[in-house]
């Protein structure tokens, strides 16, 4: 019985941690849908955003003010990216755009470190990485409060974004651009504004993920690599699918925890770092379009 409970605990912790992968992967999907490019700068954006947030806190700003200022900063980053990087490259090939996002990543990492220094920061969200009492009482499960918070925050953000895309004018514009940027442009949907929306959303997602991860492991450069775990998530979920990003994140989160706990000891631990990539390779071999890789609808 305790064996089973323990397994459930591991899976739940994995799923909750996975919501953050889902969220970051969602940032990638948005940009991928709007500009058909894999945004290699997403990891750097996570690092940049949360480092800036901690920096503002250190300057003496309160938590909410720091948060709002950082969100505005990320919108500004999105704006500059659109103006200085994407717009000039608008009609270039997708490879060129890919290189540009890699370059943007280096710029953001450099800027963040120049502005805020290189040492690891602590980020205290006031939520401990301890089991929640009542969950122990009711279910007999040890689940970390930080994991639960991360899960709830990610879920709220994902649902919020989904509603935004389904029911607002800009959301409709985004979905149109994702389907056919040329046709969207021909009926007067300004690609510029849509890009700004997408990059701002990706920036906010990056900040939130950075805060959750930073609270656990410290705000440090390693967050960039953590964010790149969105890559195996996307391989599993399919690059252009929002539900795919969400489910892919949960699968990666749960699988890596289970593997870590049950197989980790045989590999000398720390297989969380590479297990997702192994899983992704299996998918590439057997289901390269991903679980939810959208079928391309052909015109009759």
């Amino acid at each position: 019985m305790t064996e089973v409970l323990f397994f459930i605990e591991v899976v739940v912790a994995g799923l909750l941690a996975g919501t953050m992968y889902s969220l970051v992967a969602l940032g990638f999907v948005l940009i991928y849908k709007a500009s058909s490019t894999f945004n290699f700068a997403q990891g750097a954006m996570v690092f940049f955003a949360v480092l800036a947030f901690v920096g503002f806190m250190e300057l003496g700003l309160s938590f909410p003010v720091s948060f709002v200022v950082t969100v505005l900063l990320m919108v500004l980053v999105g704006f500059c990216t659109e103006r200085l990087v994407l717009n000039p490259l608008m009609n270039q090939s997708e490879d060129t755009l890919l290189m540009a996002t890699i370059g943007l990543g280096f710029v953001l990492e450099g800027l963040a470190q120049a502005a805020w220094g290189v040492e690891v920061r602590r980020l205290d969200l006031g939520i401990g990485d301890f089991p929640i009492e009542w969950i122990i009482d009711v279910f007999g499960l040890f689940v970390s409060a930080l994991d639960v918070t991360a899960g709830i925050v990610a879920a709220v953000l994902i649902i919020g974004l989904a509603l935004l895309f389904k029911y607002t004018r800009m959301g409709l514009g985004l979905r149109a651009v994702a389907d056919d940027p040329g046709a969207a442009s021909s009926i007067g949907i300004p690609l510029k504004n849509i890009m700004l929306l997408v990059w701002s959303a990706a920036g906010v997602v990056a900040l939130v993920a950075g805060m959750m991860w930073g609270a656990r492991a410290g705000v440090q450069f390693a967050l960039v690599d953590l964010a790149l775990k969105a890559l195996p998530v996307l391989i599993i979920g399919g690059f252009s699918s929002i539900p795919g990003a969400i489910i892919g994140g949960l699968i990666i989160g749960a699988t890596e925890k289970v593997l870590e706990v049950y197989l980790g000891p045989f590999f000398g631990g720390a297989i969380e770092g590479w297990a997702p990539y192994v899983l992704a390779i299996f998918f590439l071999l057997y289901r390269p379009e991903g679980l939810f890789g959208e079928k391309i609808i052909r015109r009759v």
């Binding site: 409709l172 979905r175 056919d180 009926i187």
Partner: protein, 270 residues
Amino acid sequence: MTGNSDNILEINSIEVMYDSVISALHDVSLNVPKGKIVALLGGNGAGKSTTLKSISTMLAAERGKVTKGSIVYDGTEVKNQNPYEMVTLGMVQVLEGRRCFGHLTVEENIIAGAYSRKLSKSQIKDELEKIYGYFNRLRDRRKSQAGFTSGGEQQMIAVARAMMAKPKMLLLDEPSMGLAPQLVAEIFNIVKELNEKEGVSILLAEQNTNVALRNADYGYIIETGHVMLHGSADELLNDEKVKELYLGISKEGRKNFRDVLREEETKKLA
């Protein structure tokens, strides 16, 4: 030819290059009088789409550029505008191949056409009703995913979507492409109705010369980036060369205007 305010569009000897080296149009001039339907006719690769994209400024997205001549739309020179600005000025292009948003519903596709107008929910509803009045068939399909509708319905979606932007002028690129004659007729009827009731001026690129001229007021025939002939729709329909080359009554060996004209030249000289 220039400065006539009865024309909503005036193109004066434009030359267009892609990638700064591939020359697609050499010398194209044409006028569209206000409230009229003008057909731009020619075979594959003649330069019809390039002409339309020069007007809507969609050309830039394909690394194309107008290198000579001028385009004047509704009194404004078309130079550095982008497609969004052109749409707000009332110029909307329906691209070749319909290009519906496949994952959006039919109704979402049409609503997307009003994006630049920033309408309220109730205004959108009114506009939709008006559009469905012309495109009855789409009303029944409003909740379907556009990617799963038929070719004819997709062409209607594309035109309906463009009409939601409230254009003064529509550029239609080969609306008949790949459609059965009956559907072609249905679509041209709607286009004519829109022209008459909404007063929208239309420049229509077509390979289907017959249908296009039967619905247009005036026509231009282009080949390899040159205007070869123009005249009223009736004149062109009764022109011997047009009949032979474009209406399917072809003598062997003479494939285009250039050949016909050259042949006539040699005859004259002999």
